[in-house]
């Protein structure tokens, strides 16, 4: 895995919902256009008079305006690990390259469409997203749809597979089974 792919993978790994993915994507696209910010970061990285510690704190200060939680945490992690390569080239815009790789990689994510009867807190959705990422072989994000009609439980769609474990479906299955057993009893008695 290349440096760019590894960085993209690490950021994607922290995202569990399609809602967060859209915000992260849009924020990165906006950052790509901030030439003055990238130039300032480049100057910090290339300044030989600064120690690594000073570079880290100056870069963190430069990007402190990035309020998007995932990007903020990811940038902090990158700087703390002294991964300055995002801004060290005058010829190549590595940050721009990173965003391109991130967008390509995000297209490979498995989208888990999950229907629930009640709205969930972002933290809970992330927890479920984490659960799916562990269960599925690749990275995944949850697209949550609230549908009170399902009563409870979850209706899950992964690619073309549908798993209906909602309360509504369970009641329906129980009803069909019950009526079937009544029919069988009736048939037995009629002979």
């Amino acid at each position: 895995m290349s440096q760019l792919e590894d960085a993209a993978y690490r950021l994607l790994k922290s995202i569990y919902t399609t809602k967060d993915l859209k915000v992260v994507s849009a924020t990165l696209e906006a950052l790509v256009t901030r030439d003055e910010l990238k130039q300032a970061a480049h100057e910090v990285v290339m300044d030989d008079t600064l120690s690594d510690g000073q570079k880290i704190s100056q870069l963190q200060k430069l990007f402190s305006g990035v309020s998007q939680e995932h990007i903020h945490t990811w940038l902090d992690m990158m700087f703390e690990e002294k991964q300055f390569w995002l801004f060290d080239s005058k010829k190549f815009d590595m940050f721009d390259e990173f965003v391109k790789v991130f967008q390509l990689k995000s297209d490979e994510l498995v989208i888990v469409h999950m229907g629930t009867a009640i709205p969930l807190y972002d933290e809970q959705i992330r927890e479920f997203g984490h659960y799916f990422s562990e269960q599925l072989d690749g990275l995944s994000v949850i697209n949550l749809q609230v549908n009170p009609e399902i009563m409870g439980g979850a209706l899950v769609r992964i690619n073309n597979l549908i798993f209906d474990y909602s309360l509504r479906a369970k009641f329906k299955r129980f009803e069909i089974k019950w009526i079937d057993s009544l029919s069988q009893t009736q048939e037995m008695l009629s002979y």
């Binding site: 629930t116 009867a117 009640i118 969930l120 809970q124 479920f128 659960y131 799916f132 269960q135 009563m151 409870g152 439980g153 979850a154 899950v156 798993f163 474990y165 909602s166 309360l167 509504r168 009641f171 129980f174 009803e175 019950w178 009526i179 009544l182 029919s183 009736q186 009629s190």
Partner: protein
């Protein structure tokens, strides 16, 4: 006989409908979250089963 079966089936539907309403009204957020986890566990079991086949 047919009529009796229809009446019984209607009774089943009535019981299910009442149960749905009662359950729906009794569930609190914590119950919902637990039910979601249970559903996800069932999804996992189903996926494992499909993989084994």
């Amino acid at each position: 006989m047919q009529r009796q079966h229809e009446i019984e089936a209607d009774l089943v539907r009535l019981v299910i409908s009442v149960s749905e309403r009662v359950v729906g009204e009794r569930l609190v957020t914590e119950d919902h979250v637990n039910l979601i986890y249970k559903s996800l566990e069932e999804v996992k079991q189903q996926k494992d089963k499909m993989r084994a086949e």
